[in-house]
């Protein structure tokens, strides 16, 4: 195939963005949707062709195209250049595939929104930047996509900008990401300073040739990790993701579950050569991943907002992927990334469908018994729940199991601890997912039929209102947020979503069932195609899976994780179906602990109090007040004042009295005579 086709992959969505962005306001909704869909479908088709090409034997390991320079100064230049290898291919598949499905879903989900054209323009813009991100063949170009997706997410989270909560969430997302980018940038500067280039091949080649040792190298790696934690919502920078749920649900599905948030993992995987040479950095990655996984899972246990539960589970799952990368099995990370894209996308879309059905109700306490009312949603969501909980044979089972096993067998001296954490997290995950499942679909309906109506105009308006109240409690970047009155409409009754929405659900449900089968390890009788597919990129990690004496261990490990998952599910059933009061009782019993978790460990407040407030105070009082107002303005004005004083003195001399004037004259004359007479003694000559 013609490699120049690569250019089209990102450019087509960009064209869509330009079309909808400029003239979309004038176009009918149908046309807007068609444009958006077409310009997303086309790259997907190109990707398919690309995939076939790369599968064909004799295909190169990587396909590259280079264009004109973007930045060129003597001694340093960066070109517009794309590279496709198998890793990129996987990402491309996920982005275009899931992206396209979510586009379809949005067509009907957003059908009645203001700024329909805006929404699709932004979505296409996001596709463009995301594709640039994965196609980039240099750090700088990757950074372009990196920042670009941040922009797109900023715009989409703030889609309902009339509400401060949404605007705040968007701003928070952008700025927190900026903190990560700060690290990324510094890493790039160091790379330029020491390799004089930002091109992946150049840098990795020279690293492989002569690995830099010492702190600097670790510093570069850690700075990159900082960037990744920002984008992939890891500790310490995960705080933006839950608030990002302010955005429309398809956005949460696409950007904040399936694709963008995985950019960090992709970046780490892309730079695996760099990380492989810096064990310290890898350990940090692993620990961050594990910690985040557990931490987010615990918070997820007690959330009531259905989307927030999913949000925290996303953070937790991303933690898994980090863990995988941290223990050096990048392919497992990417594998989980793929399956996660399927089932988490599915879960969000399904949740959206539920919310849609309940006219914007997001609080699980007001749900229940929806099993019969929205069957398709129920069944598809169940697939998602099973998958994420790691129930055999759903996709999640394989990917998560592989991660746990690799953690266990990794040479890292913390591997047992990490493995335990992963295991516990798995249990917690299945618990809160099943909790969500039970509370939503089983038991007695707790929602009010009469407020339930639809097809609603803006489900998320109400959602966002709830979130606004919520955010005003938590988010510290929020200045003021008054909840708006929820708009009421005529009662209509709970209903299943239209086919345009259910179709993607079904497809994704199937994917989250079978999606994992491409990665069945030999131990469980598979061939682990996925790992082999990626082997050209990560030639490491195969040996472990390959040697048979690990098979038993791996089977045991798989069994344990499955058991843990089932245990979690059972407890959820016990607490929410069998004896509904249990959870409440427990919460009452350990009130302190509960409120701690319920308030998400006060992390937002801590950041607010110990970082943001001090910065503002320092700027206001110290910098603006003391330095600028006091010293800089003060010095100038004092100078002026002293000059004025001189002026006043001179005016005093000018008393208007002739005799005084004569006095000055006489005195002056005396002085002049004296100086002229005696100056020659003082003058050197």
């Amino acid at each position: 195939m013609n490699p120049q086709l690569l250019w089209l992959i990102p450019i087509l969505p960009f064209a869509g963005f330009l079309l909808n962005g400029t003239i979309g306001r004038k176009l009918p909704r149908a046309l807007v949707a068609t444009i958006a869909l077409l310009f997303t479908l086309a790259p997907a088709l190109i990707v398919v062709q690309l995939w076939l090409f790369m599968k064909s034997d004799g295909a190169p390991l990587a396909l590259s195209v280079v264009s004109c320079p973007w930045i060129a100064v003597s001694g340093f230049s960066v070109n517009f250049a794309f590279t496709v290898d198998h890793l990129t291919l996987v990402m491309l598949g996920i982005i275009t595939g899931v992206g396209f499905l979510i586009h379809i879903y949005s067509v009907s989900y957003m059908a009645h929104e203001e700024g329909y054209w805006r929404f699709f323009a932004y979505l296409n813009l996001f596709m463009f930047f995301m594709l640039v991100l994965v196609l980039a063949s240099s750090f700088l170009l990757l950074f372009v996509g990196w920042e670009g997706v941040g922009l797109a997410s900023y715009l989409l989270i703030g889609f309902y900008f009339t509400k401060d909560s949404a605007a705040n969430a968007g701003k928070k997302a952008f700025i927190v990401n900026r903190v990560g980018d700060f690290g990324f940038l510094l890493a790039m500067f160091l790379l330029i300073a020491h390799y004089g280039s930002l091109d992946f091949n150049t840098i990795f080649a020279s690293i492989a040739a002569s690995p830099l040792t010492g702190g600097l190298f670790t510093a570069i790696a850690l700075l990159l990790v900082l960037g990744a934690t920002g984008k992939s919502a890891q500790i310490p920078l995960y705080i933006w993701l839950p608030d990002a749920m302010e955005g429309p649900t398809p956005v949460s599905a696409l950007i904040h579950a399936a694709t963008m948030v995985t950019a960090g993992i992709y970046m780490v995987a892309r730079c695996h050569i760099l990380f492989d040479h810096s064990p310290a950095a890898l350990t940090v990655v692993a620990c961050i991943g594990a910690a985040t996984a557990l931490f987010a899972a615990t918070i997820g246990l007690v959330q009531h907002d259905i989307k927030r539960v999913l949000a925290y589970s996303t953070v937790s799952q991303l933690g898994y992927m980090f863990l995988a990368c941290g223990v050096g099995d990048y392919s497992a990370g990417i594998f989980h990334l793929m399956t996660h894209a399927f089932f988490k996308g599915l879960l969000f879309l399904a949740a959206g469908s539920v919310i849609h059905a309940l006219s914007g109700e997001q609080d699980m306490r007001n749900m229940g018994g929806l099993r019969k009312r929205i069957p398709i949603t129920f069944w598809t969501m169940s697939a998602g729940v099973f998958a994420i909980s790691g129930i055999f044979p759903f996709a999640g089972f394989y990917s998560k199991d592989e991660i746990l096993f690799d953690t266990f067998t990794s040479p890292n001296h913390l591997h047992i601890l990490l493995w335990l954490v992963g295991l516990v997290t798995a249990g917690l995950t299945s618990f809160y997912m099943f909790r969500l499942w039970f509370k939503t679909f089983f038991g007695t309906p707790r929602f009010d039929e009469h407020t339930a109506h639809g097809p609603t105009h803006a489900p998320d308006l109400h959602a966002a209102h709830l979130a606004a109240v919520h955010a005003s409690k938590t988010s510290t970047l929020v200045l003021e947020a008054e909840p708006e009155p929820t708009h009421t409409a005529h009662a209509h009754g709970v209903h299943e979503s239209p086919w345009l929405m259910t179709l993607p659900l079904v497809v994704l449900a199937i994917l989250s069932l079978i999606g994992g089968w491409v990665g069945i390890p030999e131990a469980l009788g598979g061939h682990d195609e996925f790992k082999h597919f990626l082997s050209p990129v990560f030639n490491a990690g195969l040996d472990i899976a390959a040697n048979p004496q690990h098979f038993l261990m791996e089977r045991v490990d798989a069994g344990i994780s499955l058991l843990v998952a089932l245990l979690g599910a059972f407890i959820a059933w016990y607490a929410y179906c069998y004896k509904p009061g249990t959870a409440a009782a427990l919460a009452a019993k350990y009130r302190r602990l509960y409120s701690l978790v319920d308030h998400k460990f006060w992390v937002d407040e801590i950041y607010g109090r110990f970082i943001i407030t001090p910065i503002l105070v320092v700027s206001r009082l110290l910098l603006n007040g003391l330095v600028d107002g006091g010293i800089i303005q003060g010095s100038a004005s004092s100078l002026a004042a002293s000059t004025r004083g001189g002026g006043w003195l001179v005016r005093r001399i000018q008393s208007g009295n002739i005799r005084s004037y004569a006095g000055w004259l006489a005195a002056g004359a005396a002085v002049v005579i004296a100086i002229v007479l005696f100056s020659h003694h003082t003058l050197p000559h």
């Binding site: 208007g656 002739i658 005799r659 004569a662 006489a666």
Partner: protein
């Protein structure tokens, strides 16, 4: 046989008394007189030097100074009269409308 220096010192004395008079007297006319005194002192200096150098030009200078002094006197007294017309005073301490 008097040292020329004595004449010069005498002139200096007169000159400085003139300055002092200018500073101390309040009456405009008297102040003007003190200026005349200073001029006279200078004249004495001229004459002394003229004697020293046997140069008659010094004496001529004095002659011119006298002429100039006369002219100045005319103008000065006219100014004083004009001033008196508008101010009804000859006390310089009361002539300080223009100040600062």
């Amino acid at each position: 046989m008097v040292p020329i220096a004595y004449y010069l010192v005498l002139a200096a004395v007169l000159f400085c008394i003139g300055i002092a008079a200018f500073l101390i007297k309040r009456n405009v006319i008297t102040i003007f007189m003190s200026i005349e005194l200073m001029l006279n002192a200078v004249n004495l200096t001229f004459v002394a030097f003229a004697h020293m150098w046997h140069q008659v030009s010094g004496q001529i200078f004095v002659f011119f100074v006298m002429v100039v002094a006369a002219a100045e006197a005319a103008v000065g007294l006219a100014i004083i009269i004009a001033l008196f017309r508008v101010r009804q005073t000859l006390n310089v301490d009361q002539v300080d409308l223009l100040k600062n």
